[in-house]
Subunit: 521 residues, 2 copies
């Protein structure tokens, strides 16, 4: 049987170009065939999105919230079916799939709550002053309005929470934007299952058809067609640095450039400060082991590099961590492409001058499906590290580079040279923090989230989270892709001057029927 | 005598490449010679900016506010000297110079007030919940922090309010960013005068030297060097579409792309709705005449195109407006380049099929300095307009294209095809507005500010203003370059997880010493 795209409430064309998902645990193709979307599918999804722009923009927060909550319930209700297909397509364990389903429905409900509260629109009011001299002051009111249709690219490592109904889609809908999703080739069945739940929920909520389409196809063809289509006004992406940069370049070179919110590459440095004692070092090795192997090391916030003091306590950390990682059995990675990049990445790192291998699974051992990969721990000195930019390349998977340093000046030099990161974590003593202020201040300019005595994996979904950071962590350091702040990516301010009260958006009317927080000038 | 750049608190090099300003009223070069900045000047200004990043970022709102207020006072105190040089360099009348000085010092004080209030940082707090299941909730707190050094390009048409100490610079400083300004070649003396006031104010306030540099030079050399320098993290620009796009392209193609906030091109459409009667049409002709000739028509918000109903009342508007514009005497434009573009733009428009000239000053009449230019009123039908995209090109200056339409459907067609605009204005009857909702909704997706029965010139500087809009009005529709919202361009969210209270920024501490508004999750 051949499945096709979802174009609004109908299905896309059957095309001659098809693909199947692969079970990463066995390497065998799964039964269902998927048609790559045709040019006509892309065009029709964009036309529908365009048609739904004004209807979507005119929806009340309440109405959008009802839809998001209905979809959240539907997702939770379908968790058994999701488990069935997603475990096979991704190799992820059932508990993770159930957890990610809850995270995804939770995100939808979080945006529903934000919409019901209503204050997110940053309403600003300056009332008229006809008697002002030398000129009367006009009545000006402003609020955030939807940016227009958004293209969303599914992430391979979050087949639910950063895919079809994930954070990018939810935040774009919440802002009032239609969304066209490009599925990830590794989990088309999961994508289609979620996509169908979306279509049902849209229909039942009475939302416009063009609010959602789901396309299958290669990034270079369908993805490119989508990002360069004049109807699309913003892009959300989670994936590789090269993929995100390619979309950014396409979007920037359009006749009408559009913003790309690509969350790409981060090695999430951890700084073990010199004051740590032996017991603390042991505990950190435990915690780091759990963090670095979580989800098979396939998280954007996976800690890829650790700076430890070149002293006895530091050595205890290093040896203890390497021992733990050595004993960790290989696990299936998400898909063959990730497995290949992982092996190639490690191969490159091992070749670098001054890099010592402390633990390394046999990478020629290909497991059942060829997707199994084990852990890797590498070690080097601060001199080698500072001389070789290659050592800051992200190797996506359960690998860690340990770097021993001599003194605090070394860490400042590291921080000065460091590229943008999603996170930077510091382990040390509270009483000593003031002596590291320069390091903290520098790293603040390099990362979206700073942590003290905590590991960066496990991204809390809430108001205060920042999942973003300077390039190459993302293509827009002024944004977050997790948490309520993610909605701000897909909204733009609009000002209304001199309009009669009854023609203003509800949020800007005198009586403030929703009781939202407003800035009044 | 030869003047040089201001590099921090010292002066730039004397180079062999120099220029002089020209009095647009006489066409003669002024006495002072200015050295184009050397490569070394650019490099040194960037190094100083880099050195001042952390000190700038650590300044309290109060401290930044003191500096902005001191500078505002200095500007007001220097108004006589500013009048002296700026009237000669720009041809603008004394009253305008005094007004713009007040607007510029007013902007600085507005940002000072915003900083003292302190709530602009969008502080968000989610407190820890160690007992949460299945996992404890960490303590997360986020706020906006400075993006890093900002390059600002001076506007020719606002030699104060959008130049050296103008809105871009003030908002970047307010956010805590160092600023490097490239002066406009048409008013280097005004730029230098203001720049020296800045240096004095910085020194007196004890702010770091790298907080400000002022460069002279051509966009293609100095501008390009600045925008591609790795230290620069954002760009503010007000000027032509080609100039803004060139900077945007350079910035997007960097190894580390950076945001460009370019405010470029807008024809600011005015829609005269069919219900208007004769008296109203006469009044609108009066108002439009004042708006279209304000500042010699050299405002970004100048109304360049007016859609009027093809009926008797519409004809009254058309004829009355053309008569007024015919009688308006030529005025000196800001510089020869603008004068040349204006003449060329009109020449192109007049050539277009179906375009009728209702009023046109003799463009070969070059005035004393060759910078004089008069008004122009062109007229065409909706059919010709819709067939010819050339007719939507901005012609910067006191010219207006009038377009007669038949019915409301015509206006919807216009709106659907229209490029992004800073403003869109509607004139009509309040009781009839609901019958034009489709038009309003469509234009909301095309413009940053919508006006009812008001003209777009005269941009109020306040909380609620939006001076921005979809491309090509700006390169980032999610921003405003006027009003308090302008600060958001130069700030990025940073999250602090698990930090002891005393190491958090003051804005995020439990006691909230500044009493700012915060979102508490």
């Amino acid at each position: 049987m051949t499945e096709t795209s979802l174009i609004g409430f109908s299905r896309g064309e059957q095309t001659s170009s098809t693909f199947r998902a692969v079970d990463p645990k066995t390497g065998s193709e799964l039964g269902t065939e998927y048609s790559h979307s045709s040019e006509g599918d892309v065009q029709r999804s964009c036309e529908l999105a365009q048609l739904s722009c004004l209807p979507m923009a005119s929806l009340s927060g309440q109405k959008k919230a009802e839809f998001l909550r209905l979809l959240a319930d539907r997702l939770d209700g379908a968790v058994d079916s999701i488990v069935e297909i997603m475990t096979v397509e991704t190799g992820l364990p059932e508990a993770r799939v159930r957890g990610e389903t809850g995270r995804t429905s939770g995100q939808l409900r979080m945006f529903a709550d934000l919409l019901v509260d209503g204050s997110w629109v940053d309403a600003r009011i300056d009332r008229a002053d006809p008697g002002r001299l030398p000129l009367p002051k006009p009545d000006l009111r402003a609020m955030l309005r939807p940016i227009g249709p958004v293209a969303v690219f599914c992430a391979s490592n979050f087949p639910l929470a950063f895919s079809v109904a994930g954070g990018d889609t939810a935040s774009a809908w919440a802002a009032g934007c239609p969304v066209i999703v490009k599925a990830h080739h590794a989990h088309p069945g999961t994508a289609l299952l979620v996509g169908k739940l979306i279509v049902q929920s849209l229909e039942e909520s009475g939302l416009p058809e063009g609010a959602f389409s789901l396309l299958f196809g290669e990034g270079r063809i369908v993805g490119q067609a989508l990002v360069t289509h004049s109807v699309i006004k913003a892009v959300g992406f989670t994936g590789s640095r090269s993929g995100g940069r390619a979309l950014f370049d396409l979007a920037s070179q359009r006749k009408e450039p559009i913003p790309v919110f690509a969350e790409m590459s981060s090695i999430n440095p951890i700084f073990l400060l010199p004051e740590l004692n032996m017991d603390e070092m042991e505990n950190i090795a435990d915690g780091l082991f759990a963090s670095a192997t979580l989800g098979g090391g396939q998280f954007c916030t996976n800690p890829g590099i650790v700076f430890y003091p070149n002293n006895g306590d530091g050595e205890i950390f290093r040896d203890s961590y390497a021992e733990k990682m050595k004993d960790y059995p290989p696990v299936a990675m998400l898909h063959q492409g990730i497995r290949e990049s992982y092996a190639k990445g490690i191969e490159e790192m091992v070749k670098q001058k001054g890099v010592e291998v402390l633990a390394l699974s046999d990478l020629s051992e290909e497991g059942n499906g060829g997707c199994d990969a084990g852990t890797c721990v590498l070690n080097t000195s601060i001199e080698c590290f500072l001389k070789n930019p290659q050592l800051t390349t992200e190797v996506f998977g359960p690998t860690t580079l340990l770097v021993s340093y001599e003194d605090k000046e070394d860490l400042l030099r590291v921080a000065r040279e460091m590229e943008g990161q999603l996170t930077a974590s510091f382990f040390g003593h509270k009483e000593m923090l003031s002596s590291h202020e320069n390091l903290l201040d520098l790293m603040e300019t390099r990362a979206g989230r700073l942590l003290f005595n905590q590991f960066p994996t496990g991204v809390e979904v809430c108001e205060s989270i920042v999942h973003g950071g300077p390039y190459p962590a993302t293509t827009d350091s002024r944004s977050t892709s997790v948490g309520t702040g993610a909605i701000l990516r897909f909204a733009r301010p609009v000002c209304y001057q001199g309009f009669p009260d009854e023609f203003l958006p509800e949020e800007l009317r005198e009586e403030n029927p929703g009781g939202i927080k407003r800035k009044e000038g």
